[in-house]
């Protein structure tokens, strides 16, 4: 501003606009009012701004802690559900074990037959001697222990009025099997 060159250039430029500049003169009221009003305004703005920031900050942190509680409760319910899922799938794997399937199948009167007979389509020959299953495993207690199955009841031994909504599916009518399956009479 104290630069000499600038002042010189200004004075030169002002000359052509002397006449319009004179038209802008007008009466101005006393100074004090005009000076104090902006200061209060700025102060209020600043205070309001700070208040807004504080409120926003508070709301934000309330929101975040609310979120933290929500996360915490969701996480705990997730882990609870995870435990349930793990426990249920453990049950499923356990009841699908060969011991459980065999006990249940035998409980329903099924007999294992390791004597397969084949019908050859090319010449109609019967390979093997068809015979009723001897039930080599039937009745025998499981010789391959599984301590996980201790205390579980074969389905056929469940009471008849058990509905299928429990842990195990109930077969309401276990077939009555005579001692040894009758040989088929088909000819």
């Amino acid at each position: 501003m104290s630069d000499n060159l600038a002042r010189v250039s200004l004075s030169i430029e002002r000359e052509p606009y002397e006449a319009p500049a004179r038209r802008g003169f007008r009466l101005v009221s006393a100074a004090p009012n005009r000076r104090t009003r902006p200061r209060i305004f700025y102060a209020l703005t600043a205070v309001a701004g700070m208040a807004a920031i504080i409120v926003a900050q508070l709301l934000l942190s309330v929101g975040i802690s609310q979120g933290a509680y929500e996360i915490s409760s969701l996480q705990s319910s997730q882990s609870e559900l995870g435990r349930t899922a793990a426990s249920v799938s453990e049950d499923l794997v356990r009841v699908s074990s060969p011991q459980s399937l065999a006990t249940n199948a035998e409980g329903l009167g099924m007999v294992s037959n390791s004597n397969p007979v084949y019908l050859r389509l090319s010449d109609g020959a019967v390979l093997g001697a068809p015979a009723s299953a001897s039930g080599s495993q039937a009745g025998a207690a499981s010789l391959v222990p599984n301590s996980l199955l201790a205390g579980s009841t074969p389905l056929s031994a469940l009471p008849e009025d058990t509905t299928g909504t429990g842990e195990t599916l109930a077969i309401t009518s276990a077939p009555v099997v005579p001692a040894g399956l009758a040989a088929p009479t088909t000819r």
Binding site: A68, R83, A86, P116, R120, N146, S147
Partner: protein, 607 residues
């Protein structure tokens, strides 16, 4: 601008002079107060940051930070179809603080009720399956040992249902902790082979031990800050080390088949009063083990239920024995492959044979001299006949064939402490051993090695490495530690085919034919009856009876080898033969093997 500023400064200077003294005093006073306050803060700062720093830090960590172990999950052992044989599950320990075990208040139906320690103990006991008195005893014992005891176990390794039942009680002095455990959903199925972990999770035997580098996991940790109510403070610092889960071991075993084999074997072993028994099912083309059964079976969920520690391992891998006559197939194959004899070659088999080197060989039953071919020797299982064929090769030649068949070396399964059997070098053989090794005495093999000999003959003379583990499946699905599966030719195709034809004749003409007959299929098999050592360098009265063979003989696919040790009620091959029949029938049925179309060859057994 500069003009206005300087004038304002002049104005201020002009108004101050009258108050300058009091102002200076006020400034001085303010500074003193300020320094005093700063001093107080400084002292407090040093006190907190230096003097009490350690105890305060310890307090704050205890109050705000929660350190947690993040458990890595030990890998699973699965069978060929993905059925889990060994898996990791989370179990829970119920713990308590004995010193805090006092009566507490509980709101029942809107009323506050005081629950005494005895009542609480009874409630816990009902949930965990103990008696309330037992829990009171635990509390008493803990307090007796230490009057301020703050920790004791109520129950260990309970499942989630029990945990929830205890948590429902809301007893303020009970807590829980995680305790990852091993579970074997199929019980004793392949249990001897799987092995088990100790209570602390250290592998003790079997695959658990042999494949530990694959299965083992690394626990991680996680630390974060919590508020008074236990909720994690948002944005609080978290330091964590990630847990690394173990890889899964994929075995070649079929769990359903393994169950059937174990069940069948156990039934027969009990019926015949056997000491122990093993059965092996192997795939001819790949060398993969489909089932490995041991009797007595161990349930890895309940190892303590198997009293004899020797029954807890897998004898199929770790117990070698003199194989006896099943070994004659190897000698025959060696003689045929070396071209020292053909299927037409005839010898005269006496009851007792005294070779020039001074050995003394006799057959199991007295008989006049017989004019036999190799076929006849195998059908009658004649030791003297076998000796006359075996001596056509040098000891060194036969030794080399045995080594090529895998005798004397543990198989490629990588099973821990697998036995390789005893095969002494040729220069240590005495005269008797030289002949005894022709019919499976004077050397030992495991059940696996016998199965592998029959696999080689069945697979046109190419021996495949015995495979138990497909590999270690990593978290990203890739397989590591995949074993080498390159076969080695031991016999010419012609020699393997001739041997197979003879074994098929044995199956048809053997005295146990009615016991191992499988209609519709051509089968090749051989029995063995070997005296068992008494552990003091001699032989006991016990016999190890076995049957090894494969089917269908026209396109061999499965080897089954059954060994029963010391069946006191029936010490002949009639003991294992029905087991062989049942297992082989089941294998052929299960894997949909096509029944044989062509009739079996008929070879002359005499000349």
């Amino acid at each position: 601008m500069s003009v206005r500023n300087s004038s304002a400064r002049q104005t201020g200077a002009r108004t101050n002079p009258t108050n300058s003294r009091s102002s200076r005093r006020r400034t001085f006073f303010t500074i003193v107060v300020l320094f005093a306050v700063i001093g107080v803060f400084l002292v407090r700062l040093v006190d907190i940051q230096v003097v009490q720093a350690d105890s305060l830090t310890a307090d704050s960590v205890g109050n705000r930070s929660v350190g947690q172990v993040v458990y890595g999950s030990r890998g699973e052992v699965v069978d060929a179809n993905g059925v889990v044989l060994a898996g990791t599950v989370m179990r829970y320990n119920i713990t308590m603080s004995p010193v805090n075990a006092t009566p507490f208040k509980r709101t029942v139906d809107g009323k506050k009720v005081v629950i005494s320690v005895a009542e609480a103990a009874a409630e816990i006991g009902a949930a965990t399956g103990q008696t309330g008195d037992a829990i009171l005893l635990t509390i008493g014992a803990a307090l007796e040992a230490n009057a301020k005891a703050n920790f004791a176990y109520i129950a260990q390794k309970v499942d989630v249902d029990v945990l929830r039942a205890v948590q429902e009680l809301h007893i303020p002095w009970t807590y829980s902790e995680n305790s990852p455990s091993r579970v074997y959903p199929n019980g004793a199925v392949a249990g001897n082979m799987l092995g088990y972990l100790s209570g602390e999770g250290v592998p003790q035997a079997g695959l658990e031990s042999g494949q530990d580098t694959c299965l083992a996991s690394t626990n991680g940790s996680e630390t974060y800050e919590k508020g008074a109510d236990g909720v994690r403070i948002p944005g609080s610092s978290v330091t964590s080390t990630e847990a690394v889960d173990g890889g899964d071991v994929i075995t070649t075993i079929d769990s359903d088949l393994n169950w059937f084999v174990q069940q069948t074997l156990a039934a027969r072993a009990q019926e015949t009063g056997a000491a122990w028994a093993t059965a092996v099912v192997q795939d001819v083309k790949t060398g993969k083990l489909l089932a490995v059964a041991d009797y007595p079976s161990v349930d890895p969920n309940n190892v303590g239920g198997t009293k004899n520690p020797e029954d807890r391992g897998s004898r199929a891998f770790t117990q070698s024995f003199e194989p006896g006559s099943t070994f004659k197939a190897l000698t025959m194959a060696s003689v045929l492959d070396a071209g020292a004899a053909t299927l037409e070659t005839g010898i005269v088999a006496p009851y007792r044979y005294l070779p020039a080197n001074g050995a003394n060989i006799n057959d199991s039953h007295a008989h006049p001299d017989q004019h036999m071919t190799l076929t006849g020797v195998l059908i009658d299982s004649s030791n003297t006949g076998m000796s006359k064929f075996g001596e056509k090769l040098t000891d060194q030649q036969r030794y080399d064939y045995m080594k090529a068949f895998g005798v004397g070396t543990p198989t490629e399964t990588g099973f821990p402490r697998e036995d390789g059997g005893i095969l002494h070098p040729v220069d240590e053989w005495d005269n008797q051993t030289s002949y005894a090794t022709m019919f499976g005495q004077g050397l030992t093999t495991t059940a696996l090695q016998v199965a592998s000999i029959y696999q080689t003959i069945a697979n046109d003379g190419v021996r495949m490495p015995v495979q138990l583990v497909e590999g270690c499946r990593q978290a990203d699905g890739t397989m590591a530690n995949v074993p080498d599966q390159v076969g080695t030719r031991v016999l010419s195709e012609k020699a393997a085919q001739d041997t197979s034809d003879v074994l098929e004749m044995v199956y048809q003409k053997s005295w146990v034919q009615s016991k191992w007959n499988i209609p519709g299929y051509r089968v090749a098999a051989k029995t063995g009856t070997a005296q068992m050592p008494d552990g003091q360098g001699g032989y006991s009265n016990g016999y190890l009876v076995s049957v090894s063979g494969y089917a269908p003989a026209d396109d061999p696919q499965y080897v089954v080898s059954v060994s029963i040790a010391d069946p006191v009620k029936l010490n002949t091959s009639a003991a294992p033969a029905p087991v062989f029949q049942e297992i082989m029938s089941q294998v052929l049925k299960k894997y949909r093997a096509v029944p044989s179309g062509v009739t079996a060859p008929d070879l002359p057994s005499t000349w």
